[in-house]
C-alpha cells in the first residue's frame, strides 16, 4: 500500500488532547494542504509521522511500513519543521553535506543552485541567519532532499513576497519534473489555495475536512444583497456564516445552487478556501 496512512492516532500533552483518533491517508504524488488554526494539532501530526513525537495510541505506516523506529520508512519522509534540528554552529554548506549522509538522494548541486537563486550565503552559520533566511535554508533542503514524501511545516515563515513567490514556483517545477507528495501546513491559505489538490482541515485535534480542493469549493457558494433580500433567500438554506456591511449582507451557504431560483438582485460568488476555512474554524 503506497502512501502515508494514519490510523486512529491520538496524542495528549498533560490534560490537552492534541489529536483525537485521527485517521487519514496521504497518497502518492499529490499536493496536500494541512490547514488549521494555531494549536489545532498540525505540527503534532507531522511530528508523529516523523518520529519526533510518539502517539499515545494508533499507528502510522509509510508505504506499508510501520513508522516507529524504522529507518527504511523514515528515509522516505522529510520534515521541514519550525524547529531547527541542525547544530547551530554548523554552516549551511556543512548542513547540506550532513543532510546527504542521512538522505542519499539529496541533490547537493541543486541545493547550491537554489542557494544562489535565493542569495543565501552558504558559508554563514545557521544560527546567524535571519528568520527569513532560516526558512530559505530549510526550504532549500526540503526541495533538494528527493524523498517521496516532503512535509512542509510553515515553510514561508518570515519570507518576503518575492521569496514566497519563488518558493511556490520552485515547488511546482520540482513537483512537475519529479512528482512527490508534498504536505504543506501554512496560514497563508490564499497564496497556496490553487496549488493544492487536497485539503485537510484540523480543528481541536480532529479532522473536519478531508477532500479534494475542487470538490470542497464546489460544495457551496456565497450570496450578497440587501439584508432583507439575503435573509429571505437563505431562510431555507444551510448557512455557515454571514457578514454585514452597512445595508449589505453576505452569506456563505453550503449546498448546490439552482441558478433559476436566484433572484436578479442577489450576487453569487464562489467559495474561496481561505474564507471557507475561517468560517469553519471560528469558535462560536
Amino acid at each position: 500500500m503506497n502512501g502515508i496512512e494514519i490510523n486512529d492516532v491520538s496524542k495528549t500533552f498533560g490534560d490537552t488532547l492534541a489529536l483525537n483518533q485521527v485517521s487519514l491517508t496521504f497518497g502518492p504524488h499529490k499536493i496536500y494542504g494541512l490547514l488549521g488554526r494555531n494549536g489545532a494539532g498540525k505540527s503534532t501530526l507531522l511530528n508523529i509521522i516523523t518520529n519526533r513525537l510518539f502517539a499515545d495510541s494508533g499507528q502510522v505506516t509509510i508505504d506499508g511500513l510501520p513508522s516507529i523506529e524504522n529507518d527504511p520508512a523514515q528515509n522516505k519522509v522529510y520534515l521541514m519543521s519550525e524547529k531547527n534540528l541542525y547544530p547551530e554552529s554548523m554552516t549551511c554548506d556543512e548542513a547540506f553535506k550532513w543532510t546527504k549522509q542521512f538522505f542519499k538522494d539529496f541533490d547537493l548541486d541543486y541545493a547550491l543552485n537554489l542557494a544562489k537563486q535565493f542569495k543565501l550565503n552558504t558559508k554563514k552559520k545557521i544560527r546567524s541567519l535571519s528568520t527569513g533566511y532560516t526558512s530559505i535554508f530549510k526550504i532549500i533542503i526540503a526541495l533538494s532532499v528527493n524523498t517521496p514524501y516532503v512535509l512542509f511545516d510553515e515553510p514561508v515563515l518570515g519570507l518576503d513576497a518575492n521569496h514566497r513567490e519563488m518558493f511556490y514556483r520552485l515547488l511546482i517545477e520540482r513537483y512537475s519534473d519529479n512528482p512527490f507528495t508534498a504536505i504543506i501546513s501554512t496560514h497563508l491559505i490564499d497564496e497556496i489555495a490553487n496549488l493544492l489538490e487536497y485539503v485537510m482541515i484540523i480543528k481541536n485535534g480532529e479532522i473536519m475536512v478531508n477532500e479534494s480542493c475542487e470538490t470542497l469549493l464546489s460544495k457551496g457558494y456565497a450570496v450578497t444583497g440587501t439584508i432583507t433580500q439575503v435573509d429571505a433567500f437563505i431562510a431555507d438554506k444551510e448557512v455557515i456564516g454571514t457578514d454585514v456591511l452597512g445595508g449589505l449582507k453576505t452569506a456563505t451557504i453550503i449546498g448546490s445552487i439552482n441558478k433559476s431560483t436566484v433572484p436578479d438582485w442577489i450576487e453569487i460568488t464562489n467559495l474561496d478556501l481561505q474564507k471557507l476555512f475561517i468560517k469553519l474554524t471560528n469558535e462560536e
Binding site: I172, I192, N194, E214, S218, I268, T269
Partner: protein, 122 residues
C-alpha cells in the same frame, strides 16, 4: 494570456478559456506550440493536475494536440472551430444578459439597435 480567478467557474475551465482566447486573438498561432503544463502551473500558481485538466478539455475538443515528447500544439483549423463554438454561445452569454439589463433600465428594443449601430461605427 490573462486569467482572473475571481470568476465563479472552476479554475481548469478558466485555464481552457484563457487558452481559447489566446488562440482567437492570435497570441497562440495555429500549429504553434503553447506553454507546457509546468509553465502554465508556475505562471498561474496552480496545481499541475488542474492545468492538465484544462488542457485535456481542449485536446478532447480537437483544439489542441499533443506531440509526444515535444509538447502541446494548437490544431490547424482551431480558430474557425473556436469561432463556431463561441458564436453558438454568443446569444446565451451576451445577448440574453444585454436584454435583461436593458429591461431593468427601460431601454427599448429600438434604442438597443441604435446603440449597436453606433458601436459598430465607432
Amino acid at each position: 494570456m490573462q486569467i482572473n480567478f475571481e470568476d465563479e467557474r472552476p479554475i481548469f475551465a478558466q485555464i481552457a478559456d484563457g487558452i481559447e482566447d489566446a488562440i482567437l486573438t492570435g497570441a497562440f498561432e495555429e500549429s504553434g506550440q503553447i506553454p507546457s503544463i509546468t509553465e502554465l502551473s508556475v505562471s498561474y500558481k496552480i496545481n499541475p493536475a488542474t492545468a492538465l485538466k484544462g488542457i485535456s478539455l481542449l485536446v478532447d475538443e480537437g483544439i489542441l494536440f499533443k506531440k509526444r515528447g515535444v509538447g502541446m500544439f494548437v490544431a490547424p483549423g482551431a480558430v474557425s472551430r473556436l469561432r463556431d463554438k463561441r458564436k453558438e454561445l454568443f446569444f446565451d452569454h451576451y445577448i440574453k444578459k444585454l436584454i435583461e439589463e436593458a429591461k431593468k433600465l427601460g431601454i427599448t428594443n429600438k434604442e438597443i439597435l441604435e446603440m449597436v449601430e453606433r458601436g459598430y461605427q465607432e
